[in-house]
Structure formats: C-alpha cells, structure tokens
C-alpha cells in the first residue's frame, strides 16, 4: 500500500517536472516566434489613445495638408540617410538587422454599421530616417493624396499608421513627395518619442545581384524571401514622354507587401516592392498560369529627393 502511494507520488512529481520542462522550453522558443497578429490587433487601442491626445493627426488633416506639404524638390539632406554598408551579411544576420527597418502600413477607420473603430494592415513601408521619414508606394497613399488634393474628406477614415516589428505604432502625419508613375511616396510619421531604425540606402544593383524582400504580404507579417535582380527596364511613353524605371526581381512577395523594402546582400535598401505581373498561356481567360515576375521601384528614384 505504502509502496503504491510512493509510486503515485513519484509519477505525479515526474509529470510535474516534465510539464514544467516543456513549458520552460516553449517559453524559450517564444522569444524567437513573434505574435505579429496580436501586435496589429493592439494598434487600435494605441491609436485611439494617440488620436485623443492629437486630434489634429487624423487622415482628414493628412488630406488637408497634402498639397501644402507635397514637394517637387528635396525633402531632406543626403546626410539624413544612413550610408550604405559594404560588408556582406548572412541571410540570418541580414534578416535580424533589416527587420527593424521594415514597417507595416495600415489604416484605422470607424465602421458605422458596427459602431466601432478598428485598425488593420494594408501594405508595407520602410524607414529612411530615425526621425520618421519613410518610403512606401504611391498606390498605398494615392487615395489620401487625390482625395485630399480635390478637397474631399471622410470622417470615418481615422488614421494611417506604420508599425514596427516590436509593435510600436507611428501615425502618418504628412506626405512629402510622390511619383505616381514610378509608384513611390515619401511620408512622415510621428515617431512618438522613439527613434525609428532607418535602412542604409544603397544604389544601383546590376542584374544577377542577390536580393532579399522583407515585407508583409497579406497575413505573413515581416516575411523574408530571397531572389536576385532579374531585369532592369526603362520605358518612355510615346504619348506623354514620361519615363518609368523598373527593377525586376525573383524574390517572392504578394499583395500587402506594397512599399516594403528590398535589400542587397549587405542589407542596403535597393528598391521598394511595387507590383507583380502574372503571365498566362491563355491571358484572355487567365488560364494556364506560367510565371509571375516582380516589379520594384529602384532606390535612386527617391534617393534623389535627399540632397
């Protein structure tokens, strides 16, 4: 009887230790696994608090300020940008460094039907300076730019924001420069007393250069993929005379990655995600998908705006 009791106690203790060991091991692993969905979920409450303290930082105020703040010339000095790195990094090291510069772009709006506000992710962006100048695609902010330029407002469109990999939220306060043809925009956020981690800004990269994309397609937040520069193209529209530049890459990305950064092997920003082009054998019917290639915005286009 006594022996049986001892056995049961021993078994219970073993189970306890094993369970504690499992949880302890899981806690260790948790440090390497990120709950980005919860971070995005927490943005609503953070922005709600922010907007109470800064009622002038809504999307409508962003719209109102679009034309006065939009610049045709420089938006900063070249020295504001972080110089390019020269040392190649391992992909793991590159990811760790680049993750801090890659940002999620989102919006918060009030839903009349549900009588509540909510923030959600729409695209990606990258930090260019520590004081809050960032880059994304024009098509990510085009709705604000055009509706603002034409004097339109939307009281239910509460805010646009960026979020970093630690869940810090930075409300967008200005749109400094845009290029609708080449699909880039330079925006300003309120760093909220913090310093953003700017990406070192690289230069031209020839075809064949290994590149990495660290953006947030759909629900795959801060998703890291590799590839190489597959083409550099330039097209001058014969009707309008405008030239567009495209840096094509093989690194994978999808909807939601718009405006996200493309890095070279040294972790320098060399392009922004822009679009994907799908090729079908029967394009009229969108049948027999064969390949998709990725079009990005070469960094020199907006680097010129820092002189």
């Amino acid at each position: 009887m006594l022996f049986k009791r001892h056995c049961l106690t021993l078994a219970a203790m073993t189970l306890m230790f094993m369970t504690a060991g499992v949880f302890s091991a899981r806690a260790d692993y948790n440090a390497n696994y990120y709950d980005y969905a919860t971070m995005v979920g927490n943005v609503t409450a953070k922005l709600r608090t922010y907007l109470k303290a800064h009622p002038g930082h809504t999307t409508d105020s962003l719209r109102t300020s679009v034309l006065p703040t939009l610049s045709d010339g420089p938006v900063g000095k070249a020295s504001d940008l972080t110089s390019p790195r020269k040392k190649k990094l391992t992909p793991a090291k590159l990811y760790e460094m680049a993750r801090r510069s890659s940002l999620i772009f989102g919006r918060m709006e009030y839903n009349e039907s549900f009588k509540t506000d909510s923030a959600y992710k729409t695209a990606s962006a990258v930090a260019l300076t520590s004081d809050g100048i960032c880059a994304t695609n024009y098509h990510v902010v085009a709705d604000v730019v055009l509706s603002g330029a034409l004097g339109r407002t939307d009281k239910n469109d509460l805010a646009r924001f960026l979020m970093d990999c630690d869940g810090n939220v930075f409300p967008v306060t200005g749109i400094l420069a845009v290029d609708p043809l080449n699909d880039w925009a330079i925006i300003k956020v309120d760093p909220c007393g913090q310093k953003l981690t700017p990406a070192p800004v690289g230069g031209d990269v020839p075809v064949g250069t290994p590149v990495y994309c660290l953006a947030s397609p759909s629900q795959a937040h801060f998703h890291f993929t590799d590839g190489m520069v597959s083409n550099l193209t330039r097209t001058t529209n014969k009707r309008t005379g405008h030239t567009t530049y495209i840096l094509e890459i093989t690194s994978d990305y999808a909807v939601g990655a718009s405006g996200g950064p493309i890095f070279d092997e040294c972790g320098n920003l060399v392009a922004l995600v822009s679009s994907t082009i799908s090729i079908y054998a029967q394009p009229e019917q969108y049948r027999n998908f064969q390949m998709a290639y990725k079009q990005t915005v070469p960094v020199f286009l907006f680097k010129e705006y820092f002189k």
Partner: protein, 298 residues
C-alpha cells in the same frame, strides 16, 4: 410514338426554362432596348438641366492642334479642338468633349463611352468676349471647375495684305509677338463673327490656321460644326468655381495627370458627382499629362 412525345416534352421544357431565365429576350431583347432608351432619356434630361442657362453657338470651327512638346525625344502631341462662336462670346475647348457626348447619344446602351476620345481630352476652356477683349480660362477636373485666369487679352496683331485660301475661305495673314513666340494667323471674314483658337484672339474675323514661327505649335482648319438637335453646340460658363485655391491647380492637375485609373477609383473621387454632365469620363488631362521640355509660353 413514345419517343416522339418524350422528345417534344423535352424540347418544350428546355424552351420554357430558357424563357424563364431570359424573359426579356422574348421580344428580341425588348427589355434591353428599353433600358438603353431609358439611359438615353436620362442623359438628355441631365443635359437639359445642366445646359438650361447656357448659350448655344451659331456654329463652330474645328481644328487639329499639333504641338512639339518634347524636343529631347522628338514627341508631338495632337488633339482636336474647336471654337464655338456667337457674336458676343466664343468658347475654345476640346472637340473630344462634344464627340464624347455625340458618341453617348448614338450608343446609349454602351457603358463608359469611348475611352479613346476622352484619352486625348484637355479639359481647358477659353471664354472670349470680343466686345471687351476679355479672356477667361477655366479648367475642369472631374467636377471641379477652376478659374485659372480672367484677363484682358490685349493682343497687338500686325495685319498684312498677304492672302491665301483655306478650304473655301479667303484668309488674310496677321502676325503677333506673344509668349516668346512669333505667331502667324490666317483669318477670314467670309465666316460671321469672330473666333480664334487658344489665346490668339483679337482679330477682326475667324482664325482658320495659326502657328508659331518654328512650326512647333500649330492649329489647322478641320471643318465647320453645326448645331444638331440632339447635340447642340453649347457655350456654358461654369455656374460655380471650386473653392480650392487656384494656386494649388498645378499640383492637382499634375497628380491627376500622372495617376492611373486605379488610383482615382481608390480615392473615390470619380464618384463625387452623380450623372453624366458635365461630361463624365475619366479625368484625362491631355496636354497637362505631358513631359514638356518645350513650353508654348517660353
């Protein structure tokens, strides 16, 4: 016999099923035609309301406008323009606006109009009052009407005795120094009243051809336009102008010119105004969408 009955029953069932799915097709697409007619009626109703207080031109002159806008790439822009003429006022504008309206009236069951027309449209308007030499330039972006300038024209033409015939009309030559260019215009008094393309106003007749000395900007006569019962040549001065400061216009027009349809749709600005009048098509900005290295006004 049984097989024949079965076949007949099946045929009837299929026919009835088809009728049930497309009851409007029973009279050869009557419902479809009715909808098209309704759309046309609505279009005319909107036009009547919009143009209720507008003047109607006695006639119009159509031009082919050519402009070497980018010397670096050797690019030329072309657009059909027209001048609508009444004794007390003329209106110079894109011909595509009128063509779009007429296309819609002739194709009431089609959606969206002919995009190839609007594609080349520059929605700029020059209202000229010959009696006072007043020239008002307006510009329409979607439904926003901007008054860009309201000035006395003051062109000092030098009229020569040189003559030539354009079409059936006897024309005289006149020259003018303006905007850093030397302009030559050929005008006729065979047509009634006064009229001229762009800002080349002030001659005692109707200009049928005009160009600068370098032949970089050119208007050539492309026929006369007459009022049609279903599509009149309206001269409609905007009822109201946008509250957006006109200083912002260059930035706005550039943004609209360079943004694509998806951008405009996402901004919700295309749905700001219901109906079709003033002409509702994508805000093509024509000449303002160009990468110009050779401005008309130097």
């Amino acid at each position: 016999m049984k097989t024949i009955f079965t076949a007949l029953a099946l045929t009837m069932a299929i026919s009835l099923s088809g009728w049930a799915q497309h009851p409007g097709r029973q009279d050869g697409g009557g419902t479809h035609q009715q909808k098209a007619n309704d759309r046309l009626a609505k279009l005319k109703e909107e036009a009547a309301a919009y143009y209720a207080n507008a003047d109607s031109a006695d006639y119009g002159v159509r031009y082919r406008f050519k402009y070497k806008y980018n010397k670096a790439h050797g690019l030329t822009y072309e657009e059909d323009r027209m001048v609508l003429i009444r004794p007390e006022i003329t209106l110079e504008m894109s011909y595509e606006g009128l063509a779009e309206d007429r296309w819609r009236i002739n194709h009431p069951d089609s959606r969206g109009g002919d995009p190839s027309l609007a594609y080349h449209l520059t929605p700029s308007f020059h209202f000229y009052y010959p009696a006072t030499d007043r020239l008002v330039e307006t510009y329409r972006i979607i439904s926003e009407e901007f008054k860009l300038s309201d000035t006395t024209c003051g062109n000092k033409w030098d009229i020569s005795t040189e003559e030539k015939k354009i079409g059936d009309y006897n024309c005289r030559k006149a020259t003018l120094e303006k905007d850093g260019r030397t302009w030559t215009a050929w005008f006729t008094t065979d047509l009634p009243h006064r009229g001229a393309p762009g800002t080349l106003t002030g001659l005692p007749g109707v200009v049928l051809e005009a160009s600068d000395a370098d032949a970089e900007v050119l208007w050539t006569f492309n026929g006369l336009l007459s009022n049609e019962p279903d599509s009149k040549l309206y001269i409609k001065f905007p009822d109201t102008f946008s509250s957006i400061p006109v200083e912002n216009f260059p930035k706005i027009v550039r943004l609209c010119a360079l943004s694509n349809n998806n951008h405009l749709q996402s901004a919700g600005v295309m749905n700001m105004r219901p109906g079709n009048y003033p002409e509702k098509y994508l805000p093509s900005t024509g000449i303002h969408a160009l990468n110009i290295d050779n401005p008309i006004a130097r």
